[in-house]
Amino acid sequence: MNDILSAAETWLSGAFGNIKLVEKAMMGLEGSYVELLTILSLGLLAVLPAIVPAQRRQRWRHLNQAFGIIIFIYVVFTCLGVFGMIRNFQRGLSEIGRENIVALYYCSVPATILVTSMLFGPAFCGWICPTGALQEWIGLLTGRWNRKRKAAGYPFSRAAFAAALGVAAIFLLWMMHLSRTRMFFVEDASIYWSEVLVLIVLLLVWNMRRWDRPLRRLRLLSFILVAAASALSLRVTSPVHLGFAKVYDPASLLSTVMVILATLVIPRVWCRYLCPWRSAIAWAGRHSVRAIVLDSAACTRCGICDGVCDVDAVTKGVIDSKECHFCMKCVDACPHRALSIQDDWRRPCA
C-alpha cells in the first residue's frame, strides 16, 4: 500500500510540480515580477458578467470560469487562492507607501473582487473562482443523483453515507502516508480544513436538513482563522494553492482532492461551508447595485429555480443574498421570467 501511495505521490509530484504555462511576466513592470496583464485580465473577467448578453449566458459563464482557471492556475505565480488572497491583501495593504508596485499587485485582485461584487453582485464566486469552477464541473458527475436527493429533501441515504465514509478513509490513509514521509508545519493547515471538510460531509450525509444552515456559519470562522494566521504571518496553504505556487505541495494537493471528492457527495461543499472569501464577498454582495429580483406576480412557485441552484440559495424564487453566487442559473432557468437582474443605484446599504 505504501509503495502504491509513494508511486502515486511521485506521479502527482511530476504532474503538479511544474504546470505554469507562462514563465515570465507577459507585461511585467520594470524591476519587479508584477504581471500587469493578469490584473487587467482578472478585472475584465469580473466585469464580463455584467456585460454579456442574456442569451447563452451560461456558456459565457463557463468560458469565463475556464479563463479564470487558466489565469489563476497557469499564469499567476503568487498565491491568489482562497486563503492566499486574504493573506496577500493584508500584505498589500502593509506595503502601501513602502513598495507601491507590490502593494498594487497584492491589493488589486482582492480589491477588484470586492468592488465588482459591490457593483455587479457576488459574481466572482459563480463566474471566476477556480475552486468554485472545479467543484461545479466535478459535481456534474453526480449532478443527477444529487438533484434527486435535493428534491427529496436530502434524506439519509446508504449510498451517500458509504461515499462519505470512502472520502474519510481516503483522507485517513493519505494522512497516514504523508505523516510518515513528509514534514508538516503549522503552515500546512489546509490538512485541518480537509479534516473538517470530511467531518462536515459525514454530518451532512447523516442529517442534511438539521446541519446545512448552522454549518454555513463556519465560513466566518474560517475567515477569522485565515485572517488571524495572516496577521501572524503564517502561510496557511489552501486547496488549489499548489496551482499558484508551482510546487508540489502535498497538504494543498490533499485538500484539493478532498474538496473534489466531497463535492461529489455534497454539491459546492467548500463554497457552502468553509470558503473564507465567501464571507467577504457575501458582505460586499449585500451592498451590490445589481440584484436578482423576483416578480411575485409572475412566479408560480414551481421550484425550478430551487432545483438548479448548487448552493441552495433559492427558496421558491426568493434569493438568499448571503448564499447567492450570482451564477444566474435561476434567472436563466425560470420559464416565466419571474426572476430578473436589476440595477438599483439607490439601493440602501444593508
Binding site: Y33, E195, L203, L215, S233
Partner: protein
Amino acid sequence: MRLTLFTTGVLLTAVLRTQADWSASRGSAQGTAALRWENPGALEEWHYAWKTQVRYKPGLAVWASPALALLDGRPVAFIGGFDQTLHALDLSTKRVLWRHMSNAGISAAPVTGEFQGRCIVFIASNDRTLYALDARTGTVLWTRELAPASPSLGDADFTSPLLFGGRLYVAGFVYDRALARSQQRAWLYVLDPADGRLLQRLEIGNGFVSEPVGYTAGGKTYIAIAARKGLLQSFAVDGDTPQRAWTFQMPHEVLGAPAVETGVPEPVLVLGSKYGNLIALDAATGRERWKRMAGNWFDNSACIGQLDGTNVVFAGSHDYAVYALRAADGSLLWRQPLGGEVHSAPAFFDLNGTPAVLVAALDNHLHTLDARTGRVLTSYFTGRPVWDKINKGENRWGSPVVIEAGPSTAALYGSFNATVYLLPLAAPCSLQARARSVRGLWISLGVVALAFGLTLPVLTRRT
C-alpha cells in the same frame, strides 16, 4: 626544563593554532561552508540578538552569510548585514569580540586569511569600500575605495572577496544614474591583500554579479563569476593579468555563485538559475556536461561534497526541495521536499560520523539532512516567518555555516529576526522543531476534530 617548556610551547601552539582560511564566501570553491575544529571544546547554544534601528524593512533584518576562523584555538564567526556592521563573535565564550561599522549595508560574506602572522578579515561593504580588519581586535589595517564617489551614483552591490593565489579579488556593481543602461559597468577588482593596492580592474558586465570563485582545472588556475543576467565567465589567473578563458550564457537570471568540484582531473562547475535550471560545466573549458531541472528557482549557490568517494552536488530550490545529484553525470541521488522554499546555499559537513547537509528554508526552519538519503535528521525553528516580506530574487540571502567539531558540531545562522543563532547539531537544542513528530500531527488532528465537535452546539444555538 627548557626542553619541557619548548615542547609545551610547541604543543600549545599546535592546539591553539590560528586557522583563518575561509578564503571564499562559502569557505571554499566547493561551497561546503564548514570549518573543522580539531580539538573542540564545548559549543553551547547562543542566540545573539542585535538591536539596531537599521533594518532591511520594518521587522526584517538581513544578515549576510558568516565566515569562520579559529583564533587561538577558538571558533570565531564574522558576520555582517544590512545594519552596516560587521560583528566578530567568539562562539565558545558567547562573547562579542568587536564590531565595526561601515557606511552602507553588507550583503556579502567576509573572508579570512593569514598575512604576515596576522589573521585578517576582508569585507566588502556596499559603501564601495573594501576593508581589511585585524580579526582579533577589529583594527582597520587598510581600506580601499573601489568606486570613486559621484553625485550620480545609485545603489552599490559588492560581493564577497576571494583570496586566491596570493591575491584578493572582489567584484561589484554601482548603478550610475548619469549613464544609460547599456553604459552601466560591473568590475572585477584585483588587489594586493597585504596593503589593498589595486593591481587591476576588469570590466565583467553591466549589472549585478556574483561572488568570484577560484579553482584549479587542468593544471591552470581560474576564477569564475556569474552575472545576474546569466553570463558566466571564467578567467585564467596564472599570469599577471586575468585572461578571459571562456564564457557561458545561462538560460535565465543567476543569483548564486558557482560551486566547483575539487580533487578530480576534470572538475565540474555547477550553477543554478531562475526557473530551476542547474547546469554543470567543464570547469576548464566551459563546455556543458549536464543540465537538470527543478520545479522552481535556484536562487543561491550549490555546494559540492564528497560522499563515500563520490562528489555530490547539493542544491536547494524554491520548489521546496533539496536535490542531491552526482557531480559526474547529474544523476539524481535523492530529492527531499521541505516545508518551504529553500533559499539558502547548503552546507555540507560531518555530523558525528554521518555526512549531513544543512539548509535554511522559508518554512522558518533550518533543516539538517542525512547527505546519503536526504532524510531530515532534525529541524530548528529560527524565528518569525518572513515569507510575506520578501520577494524572490530581491536579495542574496545569508546561508548557514557549520563548525565541525564532533559532539560539539554547531550551526551558525543569521536569521531574519535580527538574531544570529548558534545551534548545537549533535546535542539537545531548545529550537529543535517538534512539528515533524508524527504523534504531534495526529494529536493536532484530534484536537481539531474535538474543536469542531464543540463548535457544533454553538453554531446551532446561533442559527
